[in-house]
Amino acid sequence: MFAVYRELEGTAHLLTHTVRRLGVLRLPPVMEELVRQIYFTGASATGGIVLRGAFIGTLIIAYVIEVLAADAALAVKMLLWVVLREVGPLIAAVLVIQRSGTAVATELALKEISGEIASLRRMRIDPQDYLVVPRVVGMAASNAALTLYVQLIAVGGGMVLSSMMINVPLNEMLEHFFQLASPLDLVYSLIKSVLFGAAIAVVACYHGLNPGGTSINAVPRAVIRAVTEALLLVMLLNVIFAYLAYGTAFFGLVTAEQ
């Protein structure tokens, strides 16, 4: 119980530290770390997302039309709701946990064990300023960009592939899309994805900086804890957002008062 409290306190501390110390991003070395993080988490991750996004979009349209015997309007509506609001941010978050969360936790744990963090302190550089702030900001921004990318690929790719595979005219789907799409959906998913990215980064940084040992064996343990807890936190945040948006959470077990 005490360990859980310590972890919650530690991650909350890193988050507040990041918010308070955003100004350090002006320093050239910190800005370089931010650019590296955005390149690694955002730019170099985009390739893997194309196929996944397009397949998910196609699956949703195919299911709605074939299994539920619904029309193109309902299929596009489902696509918008599911992909824009829920699946887009979640897929991007899972991808970021899988690629960058593990990388950040490993890198920081190795830095801690090998004495690089102590070297930074020796140079009067606060490791939280130099390592945590750019990673949290970079992963939050990259996750938002990846979410947009997933949404674009899933919705666009889903409509294009569906028009080829299940014989629904593309122009009919596009027409429904422009009628149904709302900028609020996009804003909602972007806020979610920024928070998801920041949460993943804070958890990964916390476990990386506190590997729980001084031997190399502590590294995989830190990474496992980081991945497990980041996934849990993302799911928890998603439930909170669902509750705020739809007034219901945990499959209707928790409902907002009307």
Partner: protein, 198 residues
């Protein structure tokens, strides 16, 4: 009594002896508690019960702001260089300056090249190398240049010649001379492990 570098280990450590350097210049100090002393000098935090004196100040009794100021005045070079693995040699050398005094960055490359030449010269490619591609000598050289750019009044190094061939050993032996030529009146202390604690 004041010292440039003084260390009194915890009384329970029977093998460890007191270290006391009270004159400037170049010194080789062999101690049984080398790792303990190195850790204390690296972070300026002596172990509980131990006493560390640097440039006349009792580190354990300094307030945090004074301790941070002292970090600028004391350079430290561990045997592995203590470099940041994700940064190349130039980024490692320039990191403290870029972080604390970015205005100094424009002329820094010329200063670094001059310093490297004074220390015996290296291949041009060194500055672009990551630590994983450097030799042990290059790592130590990079760390030493980084320490010297702060113009410290005291430099504490681990035995930088250990594990090197004769040519590189001769070059490392010049480090103290170059440092003292650049910072007259400064102190260079090389810490070595004494055998058997005697």
């Amino acid at each position: 009594m004041s010292a440039v570098l003084g260390y009194e280990p915890v009384p329970e450590n029977e093998l460890a002896e007191r270290v006391w350097v009270d004159a400037c210049g170049s010194h080789r100090v062999a101690v049984a508690c080398k790792e303990e002393l190195l850790a204390a000098v690296r972070e300026l935090r002596p172990r509980k019960g131990a006493r560390l004196v640097l440039l006349g100040a009792d580190v354990g009794e300094l307030p945090e702001a004074e301790r941070l100021r002292l970090l600028c005045r004391v350079g430290f070079v561990p045997a592995d260089g203590g470099l940041i693995s994700s940064l190349n040699a130039w980024e490692n050398i320039s990191l403290p300056v870029a972080y604390h005094a970015p205005a100094r960055l424009p002329g820094l490359l010329a200063q670094v090249r001059a310093l490297l030449d004074e220390l015996g010269g290296v291949e041009d490619s060194l500055l672009g190398k990551l630590p994983e591609n450097m030799t042990l000598y290059e790592k130590r050289l990079t760390a030493f240049v980084r320490a010297l750019l702060e113009n410290p009044e005291l430099v504490v190094v681990e035995n930088l010649a250990a594990g090197l061939g004769p040519t590189k050993r001769r070059r490392v032996a010049r480090f103290a001379e170059v440092y003292q030529a650049r910072c007259p009146g400064a102190t260079y202390v090389q810490l070595e492990e004494s055998r058997g604690g005697s």
